[in-house]
């Protein structure tokens, strides 16, 4: 198993190098020199030259020991991403945003997962009944409503009209209180698609012979559903779940923006809007690492839940 994990981790090295090459090509070679943008609207040539020097834009692109190319790799591999356009340390920006982003997305993720898997088992078991039809109709409706509408309606109705929640995140109030509404909105908005997916997965399992055999042997419904069906449905669930985890770190841009949550979603969007390639580079690299790690983790999980899969 350890050999397998090590081998899989080694496979990630070319992927990470590929990502670094791509980001260097996109943001340094194609994106070009952004010193004028940093210097401001009416900056003189001297100031622009100084900024080029400060950010290293005056260094050779490739063929030198202090080239921008090597610097790009060095920064990423040492996790010392330097400073953003606003001169704040990128690592500090990222560390500051991870907490609020995860506080928002982790409960949303687990909430959506727990509810959608539980309900999907139920509706799969009750397929064809009014319960199944109602849930499917609600799921399709939920999938058809834009995410933004959930936010606008939720904020207006639950926060403003009813007054049960704050309209925006208030630093003077507890994080739990401020995050409750965006988490609930996130769960509600994500439920439709997830429930539909897991229902399909569960239905496939329900039609299997072993389920009929289990019922024929007189096993109770909860035992059949939770011990046998759920376990056998784990492969697609793991694929869907584990690979979503890296995205949790990125936060939820719309929820963060509407509820004033100081997370990484806003940081990424702001970086794109202001062409802050330093932040985009850093975030892309971290995200690539997370994707690689969780892909390996997914493979390990497959083998753990399904004895037929071997570490080879």
């Amino acid at each position: 198993m350890i050999t397998y994990i090590l081998r899989r981790l080694l496979y990630t090295i070319p992927i990470v190098i590929g990502v670094l090459l791509l980001t260097f090509f996109l943001f340094t070679v194609v994106g070009g020199d952004i010193s004028q943008q940093i210097a401001g609207k009416n900056a003189d040539a001297q100031t622009i030259a100084e900024i080029r020097h400060e950010y290293g834009f005056d260094k050779p692109l490739f063929w030198s020991l202090d080239s921008q190319f090597l610097d790009h790799f060095k920064k990423a591999l040492t996790f010392n991403f330097g400073r953003a356009l606003d001169r704040e340390k990128i690592s500090e920006k990222i560390l500051r945003g991870v907490g609020p982003s995860l506080s928002l997305t982790a409960p949303m993720f687990f909430g959506t997962l727990a509810i959608s898997i539980s309900l999907s088992l139920l509706v799969a078991f009750a397929r064809g009944t009014w319960l199944d039809v109602t849930v499917v109709v609600l799921c399709v409706a939920g999938m058809s409503i834009p995410y933004l509408s959930f936010i606008i309606f939720g904020q207006y109705f639950f926060a403003y009209k009813i007054g049960a929640f704050p309209i925006m995140y208030m630093p003077e109030q507890s994080m739990t209180y401020s995050l409750a509404l965006p988490i609930l909105i996130g769960i509600a908005a994500g439920l439709g698609a997830n429930l539909r997916f897991y229902r399909t997965v569960m239905l496939d399992e329900m039609r299997s012979d072993y389920v009929r055999t289990a019922f024929a042997k007189g096993l109770s419904t909860p035992k059949v559903l939770f011990k046998h069906v759920l376990k056998n449905a784990m492969i697609p669930i793991i694929t869907n779940v584990v690979l979503v985890i890296p995205f949790l770190v990125l936060g939820s841009f719309l929820l963060e923006r509407f509820f004033g949550i100081p997370g990484l979603g806003s940081l990424m969007i702001e970086a794109f809007a202001s062409r802050d390639y330093f932040i985009i580079n850093a975030m892309t690299f971290i995200f690539a690492l997370l994707i690689c790690f969780f892909t390996v983790l997914t493979d390990i999980c497959y083998a753990l839940v399904d004895p037929r899969i071997q570490f080879e």
Binding site: I34, Q36, Q37, A39, G40, K41, N42, A43, D44, Q46, T47, E50, I51, E54, R83, D86, R87, E88, K93, R96, I115, S118, L119, L122, F125, A126, T129, L131, I152, Q155, Y156, A159, Y160, G163, A164, F165, I167, M168, Y169, M170, P171, E172, Q173, S174, T176, Y177, A180, T221, L225, R257, F258, F259, G260, P262, S266, L267, E270, A273, S274, R275
Partner: protein, 613 residues
């Protein structure tokens, strides 16, 4: 089926218990905190995050508006008087100016202290000295500091440019030897500052009233180094308490601030509007100020309606709910809530600019004039600005001393499609064929930007011109604008000081591109007259020259000027002394809130709800 319901019931009940418990926990947490409601706290929204609080490098309005409460320059704008009048702030009086207008001697008030900060010995702020002003300006000149505000000082002060050259030999900002003397920038003693100018600089008084020229404690810069942008150490009435970057800023009263009082004089209408009710009372009034960065409209508007913000701007989205267009007052719904409007001219100008170096537009005055004649400005104002903004008949906006009221009788901004068609025939003769498709760049990709693009296309199509629109993100737009790559562009400007030359500079030929002349306009007569005006002190002659400069430029049609902004602010009745100012930002110390009225607002809302039922 029974089994299904049993399982379903179990799950539902568990989920409900967990959910309801969590909800109660959340709400109780909130309630506990809301009990801590504080007194005299001003709550304000910000449309975008602030970049820095390093006063030597402030450029955006939002950063300036926060920093201005913490730092204090030598001079200030009188809070109530209009036209804007400069008054001493940390200076003892107005500058003593030599007869040749080249030497300024400024005495500084004694007994002004920096706020307490760990950068000072034992954390106690020391007294402000003339050297702190010298240091602040030298720091802007220091090329290793890379200040975006050097442009204000470039070529102005004797020896300062040489000092900038000298700083090039150092590696870092803090390595620079500031003891090197600059002839034109000296502290004669602890309380006297002297500035020697290369040539007369009438705008210097305005520059000395901007927060950028505030004194800087060298100890703070050395203590915090690059982190100084997050640790402002000033002499102002407020100090930074919390800054959650990008989301939240809280300022608290600087207990060490000297005693100053609210002004007793103002405009004639100020008494009636209640702006003089606090005359003679010690300032600042508020204990704290909380700024929330709210980039989306809905949360800001809902927070305002719930009384969690004291003030906000009226935008297109809340206009119909907030403003009665017939009377330009608050709607009945707003009045019932005790909400009122403040409407004022916000000096600004928006235009469709022409690149004068473009082969199609640059050599074809009738074409530029035809485009100007084709645009229905009144329709634009009605459609995009609720009919509130003013049509721009010229370039200089109302609110500036040099604004010429007779400009409304000119035809530079006339909408006349028939004349536009005739001009187009002339333009085609000059061009040698029919006019090809034109391209206009609009910074932004939102709905409003697209609607503006479609509006321009429609009106130009009416006279037979084909217009393509390129919607760009701001950095791309700025880059192409500066490099002269845009044929036509939608843009705007607001003066940073109450001086028209600040705006007219955008048409000087030495300012092409990065300097701010994005029209790439050049007119020797304009340039010569500008050179004459820039060394003149305010006088009727100078005003006449500014107006002439405007007319010279308008005759050449480097742009079709569209509208001047009229700002509408909406405020709760507990928010007092909210007189708007276009140029002064350190106004927080004059603002006040009535906590009793604010606390009664929730009851008022309940009452209104009952009445409605």
């Amino acid at each position: 089926m029974k089994k299904i319901f049993r399982i379903f019931n179990c799950l539902s009940v568990s989920a409900l218990i967990v959910g309801f418990g969590g909800l109660l926990f959340c709400i109780s947490c909130g309630k506990q905190d809301s009990d801590k409601e504080r007194q005299k706290v001003i709550r304000l929204p910000m449309l975008t995050k602030i970049q820095t609080l390093d006063c030597g490098n402030l450029t955006d309005v939002y950063s300036i508006s926060i920093a201005s409460q913490i730092f204090e320059p030598l001079y200030d704008y009188h809070y109530l008087k209009r036209p804007y009048e400069i008054v001493p702030l940390t200076a003892e009086g107005m500058p003593e100016i030599s007869e040749d207008h080249l030497v300024y001697t400024i005495r500084i008030k004694k007994g002004i202290y920096f706020q307490d900060d760990p950068c000072f010995p034992e954390g106690k702020g020391r007294e402000l000295k003339a050297d702190d002003f010298v240091y602040a300006i030298k720091r802007i000149a220091n090329i290793k500091f890379v200040s975006q505000r050097w442009v204000d000082w470039n070529g102005r002060v004797v020896g300062l440019d040489e000092f900038r050259e000298f700083t090039k030999s150092f590696d870092k900002e803090l390595d620079v030897d500031y003891s090197v003397e600059v002839e034109g920038l000296k502290a004669l003693n602890d309380y006297t500052l002297q500035l020697k100018l290369v040539k007369p600089w009438p705008q210097l008084q305005w520059n000395l009233a901007t927060v950028v020229t505030s004194p800087v404690a060298r100890e703070a810069v050395e203590y915090y180094d690059k982190e100084i942008m997050y640790h402002p150490v000033g002499t102002g009435p407020y100090k930074l308490k919390i800054w959650q970057q990008g989301f939240f800023i809280e300022l608290e009263r600087n207990e060490k601030w000297r005693t100053e009082v609210y002004p007793s004089e103002g405009e004639p209408a100020d008494l009636e509007q209640g702006y003089l009710a606090d005359a003679g009372k010690p300032i600042p009034f508020a204990d704290r100020a909380v700024y929330r960065v709210i980039e989306e409209f809905q949360p800001a508007w809902l927070m305002f309606l719930r009384g969690e913000l004291d003030v906000m701007q009226v935008f297109k989205d809340n206009f119909s709910q907030a403003v009665d267009p017939a009377t330009l007052t608050a709607t009945a719904e707003m009045k019932d809530r005790g909400i009122r409007l403040i409407i004022y001219d916000d000096p600004s100008i928006f235009w469709v600019g022409f690149n004068m170096q473009d082969p199609t537009l640059g050599k074809n005055p009738p074409l530029r004039k035809a485009i100007s004649r084709a645009i229905n400005r009144q329709a634009a104002v009605d459609l995009f600005f609720n009919g509130i903004h003013k049509i721009a008949y010229g370039y200089l906006p109302p609110g500036l001393e040099e604004y010429d009221p007779s400009i409304v009788h000119t035809d530079y901004s006339k909408y006349d499609p028939d004349e536009a068609r005739l001009l187009l025939r002339e333009a085609e003769a000059i061009h040698g064929s029919s006019i090809p498709s034109l391209t206009m760049a609009i910074p932004g990709t939102g709905n409003l930007d697209r609607q503006m693009g479609q509006f321009m296309q429609k009106y130009l199509a009416d006279v037979g011109l084909d217009l393509k629109i390129e919607y760009m993100d701001w950095p791309t737009y700025l880059d192409e604008l500066n490099k002269g790559k845009l044929q036509m562009f939608f843009s705007g400007a607001s003066p940073s000081i109450p001086d028209s030359l600040d705006m007219l500079l955008a048409f000087c030929s030495w300012n092409w591109g990065y300097g701010g002349n994005h029209f790439f306009y050049s007119n020797p007569e304009f340039d010569a007259l500008f050179r004459k005006a820039e060394v003149m002190f305010p006088s009727p002659q100078r005003t006449a020259i500014c107006r002439k400069l405007e007319r010279i430029m308008l005759e050449d049609y480097p742009a079709a000027f569209i509208n001047h902004r009229v700002a509408i602010t909406i405020v709760h009745d507990w928010y007092r002394n909210a007189k708007p100012s276009a140029f002064s930002y350190n106004t927080l110390k004059y603002r006040s809130v009535d906590p009793d009225k604010r606390n009664a607002y929730k009851d008022l809302l309940k009452e209104l709800k009952k009445k409605k039922k």
